[in-house]
Symmetry: C2
Amino acid sequence: MAKRAASLFSIDVISPDADRGPAHMRVLERIQTAIASGALPLNARLPSSRTLARDLGLSRNTVDEALSRLVAEGFVVRHRGIGSFVSGSLPGRNRRSSQRTLDTQRRPSEVRVSDRARTLMNYPGHYKAIEPIPFTPSLPPNEFFPRKTWQRLLNREVRRPGADYWHYGASNGLAALREAIAAHANAMRATQASADQVLVTTSTQQAVELAAKVVADPGEAAWVESPGYQPVQHCLRGAGLNVVPVPVDEQGIRVQAGLYLQPHARLAYVTPAHQYPLGYEMSLLRREALLEWSRGEGSYIVEDDYDGDYRYEGRPIASLQGMAPERVIYIGSFNKILFPGLRIAYAIVPEALVGPFVDAKHAADGHTALLAQGVLAAFISEGHLSEHLRATRKSYDERRLIFLKEAQVLRDVVRFGPAAAGMHVTASFRDAKIDDRAVAEACAGRGVVVGALSRFGDVNLRGLVFGFAGAAAEAARAGLGIVRETILAQK
Amino acid sequence: MAKRAASLFSIDVISPDADRGPAHMRVLERIQTAIASGALPLNARLPSSRTLARDLGLSRNTVDEALSRLVAEGFVVRHRGIGSFVSGSLPGRNRRSSQRTLDTQRRPSEVRVSDRARTLMNYPGHYKAIEPIPFTPSLPPNEFFPRKTWQRLLNREVRRPGADYWHYGASNGLAALREAIAAHANAMRATQASADQVLVTTSTQQAVELAAKVVADPGEAAWVESPGYQPVQHCLRGAGLNVVPVPVDEQGIRVQAGLYLQPHARLAYVTPAHQYPLGYEMSLLRREALLEWSRGEGSYIVEDDYDGDYRYEGRPIASLQGMAPERVIYIGSFNKILFPGLRIAYAIVPEALVGPFVDAKHAADGHTALLAQGVLAAFISEGHLSEHLRATRKSYDERRLIFLKEAQVLRDVVRFGPAAAGMHVTASFRDAKIDDRAVAEACAGRGVVVGALSRFGDVNLRGLVFGFAGAAAEAARAGLGIVRETILAQK
């Protein structure tokens, strides 16, 4: 599966088939097929005609001719200065029935999977247990987690007489945990939250899905960042939303481009503190523009503050939620700062939406498991979370500096993006012809995990995403050596 | 909220307002308002005209005239011999925009909640922690749970070197747990399941929502039992499905009625081992009819085996899944047999649907928390689950017999349904004029919890649902005394 997706543009979909018709018609047909099969989702950004021409070994004129026809037939929409995108609604056909037809060719006739289940296939992520190795992004290194403290609290809470961990719990979460979360986020991230606005969830994914359900109906639009965090985009598609990728620049999401592409989105999913994966901070001007849009449109901003606790240079930027608590749904996750197997995250929601969010959580899974909530509440309120963040901020910073020093070995082949925050850094290839997916795959074969930048929703970007927090000095040096060899072998 | 819903038919919605127009027009308007506001959901069953006439103190002719007009205008559909239902699609109006209009009258203009979030409001269930008191249905009594054993296993697993509880886990669940579940369900419930077909979820609700997403798209139909388990019906509505309540009789769901109401449903949610709440077992003939429909239609049966482990009289009936593993999505929950705060349930899914289910679970919340999965796997594979089921089967049976004996005190006012299985029994009032919601509310005020039968989706049924497993002899006697007094006071 990874292989097929990796070669989406370069081999499977568009490589011209020597025998059939003029080159531009073959390009056109392959793109239509990719759209009809869902390999190219609605609203997906297409590679630039220059990139396509280069990858296919065809003239740019041929590719432009194919794209013009796709535009004329309504399969592709071109936005000058922004790019070409698969159309949001396909022309002259009922999308559901056309997908059904394709579907039945592949399966026994009595098995039919829903359209929305089909949108969730090819989900980018983990189905197998993941061990942290250099340079898995977004995976907290286990060695820093104070497991003994956790075990002690667990041991105490599981035996606590009169604890409510054994019955049904409140759908919005244990009161003690909601209070601890509100106090922590208000102090560390400048949110403005009461414990009543906190909803305990199992994960960022669940928080985003609940937000999608509460503020949008199927067919309504959601802005996401391009490049951006793909699992959330799949989650939004699975919730029936029309996902509109909006380009980002050094200031964050380009609100003007969003207004141009689809002003009437019901929500915008953004990562203001540390854009995923490029690492930019959203500028104050951009924040204000985004909030202005949200106020005017009555839409909501979903702020994923996935590693807002880690900033090594400059002042920490306050959360967007603190600027407009009535328009922002703030999401934080303990799975990314403590350990992923925990499955506790949270949303801070506008007061007016508390009821609908609790209803939606209740219908989704009743409530989150109780004992772990109790242990986490104690872990936070007894000061262990602050201590852990202090300690890991220091350790990750050391690793960041070591990584950046060792990464000099790559300076002739990549340009690094900002590395002032979080747990990962992005590098773009100086030679944009290098296939980043092939590099990532070859590295994985040698025991080094790097993300391919083109997988984050903008196939025009080619480079690598490195998680630096999981690699101590020796591992970082060895891993970077392997990455360098692999890139050079691909040139 | 509870109060308003309790009096849906008897006061708020239909009580004629003395000042305005002819009686039948007032009845008509109140029902239309209830439909437009969502208080009466699409497809909801209406009380019989006899019941309405009695409750309103109007002649049956007046009520029939109102109903005929509602039928003529397309708001209500009448099925001879089955009943009257709110129409599945309302006439001459866009449902979304009409609800929006109502919505904005109640909220500040900048707050807009989605239609699907609106369907989840008035969710019947728990938002507050629930303590088990007589006669809360579906709540396992804590005193039988071997908490010391659980604590010992937890203590061992949390310290186990090399355990995978700290990283990301597989989306379908820990392998050890899936194997233990398959072995348990195959042995105890005659399912035909490999560990690969098992998907670990947090709850029955989550398993049902995943099933809805995987096999149906918004707007497609789902059969549910009437009366039936309301939280699942809300979950299906929240997933965008057109919920079609199909009446049940002593043999279970009336498949012929389902075929008449909506043959093209994508799934049927049923409780074959112990119909919730009436307690009937689905007959073999009915099982075969349901499977025949499913095979012909290419639809799926969602079998909720919520208390299939408890049968006190007669042979245990095998699961439906064992009869047709390719058509049945079987759901079991440890939250109902161990402790609700655990949040671990599972689905056994047809082989052809394993991939889409895992994708959907992954997009929903990544995976279920790991440590608890590990503890549960050990609990099952080391024999503690079997032991717990043996012990509780015996204890619940004792309580059942005591309850049935003490419940003789009610024999002049109620008729009890079957009590051969599970953890609850249903009683219908001999005098159908008694308001069961008022009785339940008055009992709650005196510290006794009983379910009002009319809340399970068929307002023509009036009676009470008693959980017997949570009440020891003394509590059962005292509780039943209070229930009797309350019923007599309502007469």
